[in-house]
Symmetry: C2
DNA sequence: TATAGTTGTCTAGATCAATAGACATTTTGG
DNA sequence: CCAAAATGTCTATTGATCTAGACAACTATA
C-alpha cells in the first residue's frame, strides 16, 4: 500500500537483473510473460519497464525485446586508508568531482563532538557531488577545522581532491577513524543532485578522519546512490 | 511518481524526527501546520501520520497532539571480530534469534568461490531471524562447509549462537574477512520476516568469515531493517 | 467554565493507477 | 515473402488516492 504496483514490479525486475536471472539471453522476458509471472496487466509491466529504461538499466527494441544494459554497482572500499578516487580507479573510466559550494560555519553540537572542538568553533564546509563516467554516484558535506585548514575550499577547487588539499596544508597522511552507515529514502535535494527518481534509496555514511596523532581533521556525511554503489568493508 | 504522496510525506516526517527537529516539544507539529508546510491536504498528512503510528514511531492523542515515541536505530558493529549478540548487548534488553529452517545444498558458483570450495560441494544452509526487544532487526542466510561443520544446524538450534556452534565443532576463533553492503527495497519475503511495510528498505551485507589460518568457514547474506539499524564500521 | 487548539470522522468531487481489449509497427526466422 | 513474436499506441472502465469542506470529540489553559 502506498507504493504503485508498477513500481513494485520494477523493483522485482531490477532485482532479477542484478541476480543474473536473465543472463542467458541478455534480455528481460517478453512483457506478456512478465505480466503472467507477476499476475498483473501488461500495461503495468510496461510502466515498470519504462521506469527501468528511464534509469538506463534496460532498452526496449520494438519487435525484438527489452535488452539489459547491465550496469554493475560500483564498489566503494572503506578501510583505514579510504581515498575516494583511488578506490574507484579501475571500475570507472572517468571520475568527476564538482564543488557545489563552500562556506564557513560554526560547529554545531554533534559535529563539534565528532571533531573534538568546542561548539561554535569555525569550520570550513564543502558540498560536493562525485560521478563516474557521467553518472552521479555520491554527494557529500564535509567539515574541516578552519584554523588548521583555512584554504581548504580554494585548494579543493584547484586540486579536485581532499587528499591533495590536505597535503597543501602540510598534512601528508590521515586515517579513517569511524564510519556509520544508514540507508533511507532520498530527500528532494538528493534526488536532484544524484539524478534519482522518487522512492530511490541513499546510503548515508557518516565518517571521521584523523591525522596520525589521532586529531580529527575531517567529518563528512556522504550519501551514495544505493542502486549504483555497494560499500566494501576492508578490515 | 509511483509513490503515494502520503508515503513521501511520512518519509519526510520520519526524517525530521530522526534529525531531532521536534525534540523541543517531543511532538510532531499539528496536522494543519504540517499540511501547510508540505503543501498538501490535511487528510494526506493524516494518512502519513497513521502510517508512522503503525510503525510505532508516533502516537496521536486527541485534543493534545501527536507524540513522538523515539526509537533510536540500533547500532550494529562490523569489525574483524564481528559477533552478532555481543555488539548489540547494551542497546537492547533482550535478543531473540529464531531458526527458520535449515538444509544441505550444493555450493553454487558465487558462494563456492567465496568459500573457496568446488561448485557442488555440500554446504549447510541456515535461515534465521534476529530481533531486539521483540522487533525484528535482521534476517540471514548462512552457508557452512558440510564436511567440516556437519552438525551446524543442530548445534545452532541448541545453542542459539553461531560462535558457540563453531566452538562445538572445535573452532574457537574466527575473523571477518570481507563485507559488502548494498541497500535496496525489501522483497516480499523480507517484508514478512522483518514485519516491514511495502517500500521499506533493507541493507544487505554479504560477509565472509574465516578461521585464523585463513580458511573460509562461513558465508552469509544478512538483511537488516534499514529503519531500525545502522552499521558501524570499526577499522 | 468558556475558549482556543488539537485530533477524529464523514461526505463529495477530481485526479491518478490499473485493468481490459484491439490493433499498429517492427524484427526474426522459416 | 510470410507468419510468428515482440514492442508501441489508443480507447474505455473501474478503483484508489488526493483535495475540499464541515463538524464532532477531546485536552489544556485562562
Amino acid at each position: 500500500m502506498g507504493v504503485a504496483l508498477w513500481r513494485q514490479i520494477a523493483d522485482r525486475i531490477r532485482l532479477g537483473i542484478s541476480n543474473g536471472d536473465y543472463d542467458a539471453t541478455g534480455m528481460v522476458p517478453p512483457e506478456t510473460a512478465l505480466a503472467a509471472e507477476f499476475g498483473v496487466n501488461r500495461h503495468t509491466v510496461r510502466s515498470a519497464l519504462a521506469a527501468l529504461a528511464e534509469e538506463g538499466l534496460v532498452r526496449a527494441v520494438q519487435g525484438r525485446g527489452t535488452l539489459i544494459e547491465r550496469k554493475e554497482r560500483v564498489s566503494y572500499p572503506i578501510s583505514r586508508r579510504t581515498r575516494f578516487s583511488a578506490g574507484l580507479g579501475r571500475q570507472v573510466k572517468e571520475i568527476g568531482t564538482e564543488l557545489l559550494g563552500h562556506g564557513q560555519v560554526p560547529a554545531s553540537g554533534e559535529i563539534a563532538a565528532a571533531l573534538d572542538v568546542s561548539p561554535g568553533t569555525p569550520l570550513i564546509e564543502l558540498r560536493t557531488v562525485s560521478s563516474g563516467d557521467g553518472r552521479p554516484l555520491s554527494t557529500a558535506i564535509s567539515y574541516y577545522p578552519a584554523d588548521r585548514f583555512p584554504r581548504m575550499a580554494e585548494q579543493y577547487a584547484r586540486l579536485g581532491s581532499v587528499t591533495k588539499a590536505f597535503a597543501a596544508h602540510g598534512l601528508d597522511d590521515y586515517v579513517r577513524v569511524s564510519t556509520e552507515i544508514v540507508a533511507r529514502h532520498a530527500e528532494a535535494e538528493e534526488l536532484a543532485l544524484l539524478k534519482l527518481s522518487p522512492g530511490a534509496i541513499v546510503m548515508e555514511a557518516q565518517s571521521l578522519n584523523a591525522d596520525l596523532d589521532g586529531r580529527p581533521v575531517e567529518y563528512s556525511r556522504t550519501r551514495f546512490a544505493a542502486d549504483r554503489m555497494k560499500l566494501r568493508i576492508e578490515t
